[in-house]
Amino acid sequence: MKILYFSWLREKIGVPFEELEVTSSTVNDLIKELIKVDQKYALAFEDIKLLRVAVDQKVINDLNASIKNAKEIAFFPPMTGG
């Protein structure tokens, strides 16, 4: 699964994206799975209020959203476009 990071989340993780084999079936589980792998994920995901997630380029509003069959998951802070 391709996992992408943007803005200061990218800076905290240290890479714009990575290809990982994951076993989780929801976004929430994926976050927990990543935190177990490395401390940097714990730091990046520390303030859950500032965390936004897109599954296959669609923003999800519930961290219990399924990621089964998903091709890419993106983590980023609130958008500041325009």
Binding site: S7, R10, A54, F76, P77, P78, M79, T80, G81, G82
Partner: protein, 157 residues
Amino acid sequence: MKKIFRDCSISVNIQNSDFDINSEMDLIKSEKKIGGITNFIGVVRDSSKEEDQLLSLELEHYPGMTEKAIMSICIEAKKRWKPNYIRVIHRIGILRKGDNIVLVITASAHRKEAFKSAEYIMDFLKSRAPIWKKEHFKTYSKWVKSKEKDELALLSW
């Protein structure tokens, strides 16, 4: 994502390069039944309290998703006010003070529909387009924080 105007009245571009308002306008004015054209241009502003502190504004985006997200916003505006034409250009990369960031043009027979569409699109671009801004000042850099009032603005639509 670049669409030929004749085939589709919505066109969205994400690009590093600048845009030319006059030539974008000329494209629209060749269309029939256009009576009013609203356009909004966002430019890089120095938000520092002292003057001349901003060196550059860096815009990062989510390639692929950005175009889709902006297109969805435009389609919703089109549904609500039926403007004849919507054009959005959002720049990314490194920009300087006074540089253009974003252009939204909406055109319709009457002014109200053009104004409302442009305002709606701008409001949603602020917090629904996967773009992030980092300000580089002389002595430090920081990611622009999202504003609560931008989120609240969406509730009014």
